[in-house]
């Protein structure tokens, strides 16, 4: 079962994708490993490697060592600017 990945704001615009289902290779079990997988696509995907990109798993903001698994909703986005 794949992961659901969402992208927001400037990142969504740069990637040209707002959401995708992604079946990560075996052994990819953390946010940072998943991120490295996506960056490896090259081109615009290298923007995901920027230090300020934030991540959420199942709608909670997390660090890179947070685990990800089948069925999770993972989101990548720039620092928030509401208020």
């Amino acid at each position: 079962m794949a992961l659901r990945i969402l992208y927001f704001a400037a990142l969504r615009e740069a990637l040209g994708v707002s959401a995708e289902d992604f079946d990560p290779p075996a052994g990819v079990a953390s946010v940072s490993a998943l991120r490295a997988c996506l960056v490896a696509r090259g081109g615009v995907w290298e923007k995901l490697a920027a230090a300020n990109v934030k991540a959420a798993v199942n709608q909670r903001m997390v660090g890179g060592d947070a685990s990800v698994g089948p069925g999770d909703e993972v989101a990548f986005f720039p620092p928030v600017t509401g208020g």
Binding site: A56, Q59, T81, G82, G83
Partner: protein, 167 residues
């Protein structure tokens, strides 16, 4: 101060395109209660300039689902720290123009200190934890607003204050 359960008040969070009625929202925080000593409110508006450019409009994008959850978590943290009697948070999304209201935070408490502190805490955390993004329309074109370091500093001082009061 020891962590306490939130007092049985109304804690309500909304994310909406529509404008809100400041008077009605403020009044509702104290309606039917005799234990409220004060209400602190913050209302955020769209400015017509930012970072040296005119701003003719802005569009707020958010992460539906996570936004409501993040705002609820922030209100919950405020309730643990200050035990306010009622809290109302409204954040608008979609396209807004200079002078339009963006955000309302209202806190009713027994004493002003708790109301002011909880209101400021909620705004500081909202700025750094709630998944909203602003895209401004300027004469030079549209641009995504950059996060400010001063917002991170403002949010961080609350955790510094918590550690200091424990020590």
């Amino acid at each position: 101060m020891s962590a306490q359960q939130a007092a049985a008040g109304e804690m309500l969070v909304s994310v909406q395109e529509a404008d809100f009625d400041v008077g009605a929202e403020t009044a509702r925080l104290g309606d039917g209660r005799r234990d409220v000593g004060g209400i602190a409110t913050f209302i955020g508006l769209v400015r017509d300039a930012n970072d040296g450019s005119g701003v003719s409009a802005m569009t707020l994008e958010h992460y539906p689902g996570m936004t409501e959850r993040a705002l609820g978590d922030i209100v919950e943290q405020a309730c643990v720290r200050w035990s306010p009697l009622s809290v109302r948070v409204i954040h608008r999304v979609g396209r807004l123009q200079p002078g339009d209201r963006i955000v309302f935070v209202g806190v009713a408490a027994a004493h002003r200190g708790e109301a002011f502190a909880a209101c400021e805490f909620i705004m500081d955390y909202l700025k750094t934890q709630a998944p909203f993004w602003k895209r401004e329309e300027t004469p030079e074109g549209a641009r995504w607003v950059d996060a400010r370091e001063s917002d991170d500093t403002a949010a961080a001082r609350w955790s510094a204050a918590a550690s200091a009061s424990k020590g």
